[in-house]
Symmetry: C2
Subunit: 424 residues, 2 copies
């Protein structure tokens, strides 16, 4: 890579980007909903119009990726073709069509003093998005930030440098067409990692960081950020088969939770089976998983079932992101809850139970961002929740939790109207 | 002070407190509303029963304060008498009587897939409260944290050490009576400042810090905390008299905003006057302020009015907390907005205007936690907002903003119910 200025130059560059983003955010905060919608629609048209340019840029990225020896999976994530580019354009249009969250009155009431109080949505300000190889994040994340009235600083992966560059240009073209400040979307123009370090500590300019990527990236961001972070480090999702589980639901949900797609954060990584249903439903589910090609790493009791591989302590609380699942027999629901508290990651956990009291206990005593009953953990997704596009799933408890869509990228303010009202 | 163990001992002590708080919070999170109410009611009864003990402890604190040479104002904040103790007991009962925020369904909806999705309030976890001389904060903050299902670690001022100790014991007595974990309320048992440093960096155990005190304390906490902070550094509240201001409202509101109580964060520190009403409403308001004993530090134009003292650049953006106000003439509403953006602290700002468009512009283009129209900035208070007791007023944009009551000390989780529902 030739673009390696020294860290002082990077600091000056990032400071300038931050300053511009802050200035743009002040204007974008009260932009008309129609203007933001138009910016996104024009950006979508621009993406379609520049298909050839995007593919040419992507070819440069793919060549860089090959030189770097990226895995086939990584190369696939990086790759853009006509179909994926159309998907990006459609994604921009979908966000354009969403309701504008800014200015919505969340609640309002009157006081005896004569005050009328409204709580109104307002943007957060400036959002930093740090991501890895998927260039589409440039468009998706940029669009959500814009919709929610926030300025965004995008820091893509070094592999998607050129593809992301063209996509960011499409967003800027949209902003210009809508007469909105172009600095509302900025892509960090260097691959230097020092830029990430700067971005994480720019408390004056950046209100929140959203990392999109693997555990390595998210862990780094969580450790080093001096600004709030919306993220999940891992998705260690559990499925617990209660004594009251329905056999068919248990089978259907567990198979889907593990095997539909193993590489997403909502895929199940651990199966807990109530002792009372071990020889009935449990056997059936274990069999079905193994037959589906899953490596099932079980505790001593489960090892009695043919095909079960011994689990080590390290297999619990582990995110396999693969056709592997850890499994354990528990004596009762409280043991399942204790296991999830200890090994879970507060992402998504599901109970398979017909007994309302059991489900209630699971819902009350666990505090994962998403708790499910008789439903697959793979449903943990903004789209499946009807919340529209999401910038990610957060497991923290502050501000944003679960699927983070445009609404969760906002804050609020109180608007108070009196009539010469004073305090006694 | 004799209690000065070394920093390793303090670290071990705080670690133990954090561990206990975390364990208590897991239980308190699903405590029955009746149990929490009972704990607070018993605590109130306990405060009344221990009046003599509280006064004796407070006398030790007052002696310590005198030795330390505290100002009369500080000594007054520290002092507890029968009336104030009854006020503390009533405050506990008021929080007991509030609705329990935990478990409330914030919103719920159904998806075509068959999922039923609920967004339900859940406590934040562990809250650290760091405060100065007022011992009543021990009871007030402790009660709000308990009501919202959070464990609390209280770190009172060294001056209120003994008074706070007895008040914390009253809360613990309430917890015991309600069979709730006593560790849900812990008072740091040392005056050593190292304990504060520890508390601010215990990311594993503490979810949020609430500092209650002057700019020195809040600034320290904001600089050094590695956990989120709900606070306002300063309340630099502005009153802007628009060209469309009503004379009577302008006079009434400005006088109240400045003079009702000068020492609170909602008191006005700066007056902005639209040029068009300078010689009419402006003159009258300036006169009335001066007649009320306010030192008005004005710009060159205002200095033409008798009794106006020249303002320096440092007087703008300054929190006087005294019978002093800075004042400036502005050419139009945008100049007022620009002034507030530059010098304000995002706490509370008020426009006096009959023109709806002007008020709308002020509300849209500023992003203070609280914006008011024709109302006194002194109304910026949880009680005046009908939100019940507050733990403070926050100016940040993440999570909590404006008056922070029991509701804002909560997060949420998604409870998702299916019927064997899987993802396609």
């Amino acid at each position: 890579m030739k673009d390696l200025p020294d860290s002082q130059e990077i600091a000056a560059l990032m400071d300038e980007i931050g300053r511009r983003a802050r200035a743009a955010s002040a204007e974008l905060a009260f932009a008309a909903p129609e203007a933001k919608r138009r910016a996104l629609e024009v950006a979508a048209a621009e993406v379609r119009a520049r298909e050839g340019e995007i593919i040419a840029a992507n070819e440069k990225d793919m060549a860089f990726g090959r030189d770097k020896g990226l895995s086939a999976a990584m190369m696939d994530r990086l790759m853009l073709d006509a179909g994926r580019i159309e998907g990006i354009a459609k994604g921009l249009e979908a966000v354009a069509a969403q309701d504008d969250p800014v200015g919505a009155v969340l609640t309002e009431w009157d006081m005896a003093s004569g005050l009328h109080i409204q709580r109104v949505r307002t943007p957060l300000g400036v959002i930093g998005v740090i991501y890895e190889s998927r260039p589409n994040v440039t468009a998706d994340a940029g669009a959500l930030c814009l919709k929610s009235g926030n300025a965004v600083i995008l820091r893509g992966g070094s592999e998607s440098f050129y593809s992301s560059g063209v996509l960011a240009e499409c967003l800027k073209a949209g902003l210009r067409a809508a007469e909105l400040p172009e600095d509302a979307v900025q892509l960090v123009p260097t691959r230097d990692r020092e830029a990430v370090r700067q971005l994480l500590t720019m408390t004056e300019y950046v209100d929140v960081i959203v990392p999109r990527g693997g555990k390595g990236l998210v862990g780094l961001v969580q450790r080093e950020a001096r600004v709030p972070v919306f993220a999940h480090l891992e998705g260690i999702c559990h499925v617990y088969l209660d004594a009251s589980a329905d056999a068919e639901k248990a089978l259907k949900v567990t198979l889907n939770a593990k095997t539909r797609r193993t590489g997403i954060c909502g895929s199940a990584e651990c199966l807990l089976i109530h002792r009372d249903v071990l020889d009935t439903i449990g056997q059936g589910v274990v069999r079905a998983l193994i037959d589906a090609g899953v490596e099932l790493r079980g505790d001593a009791e489960l090892q009695k079932i043919e095909g079960v591989v011994p689990a080590t302590e390290e297999d619990f609380g582990r995110e396999f992101l693969d056709m592997i699942i850890a499994a354990r027999v528990v004596d009762d629901i409280d043991a399942a809850i204790a296991h999830i508290r200890r090994y879970g990651s507060n992402h998504t956990d599901s109970i398979i139970a017909e007994d309302d009291a059991a489900a209630q206990r699971f819902f009350q005593r666990l505090d994962s961002a998403i708790l499910m009953r008789n439903a697959s953990t793979q449903l943990a997704d903004g789209g499946e929740f009807g919340m529209g596009a999401e910038i990610g799933i957060a497991t923290g408890k502050m501000h944003a939790r679960g699927p983070v869509g445009a609404e969760q990228l906002t804050s609020f303010k109180y608007l108070v109207t009196g009539d010469g009202t004073v305090r006694a």
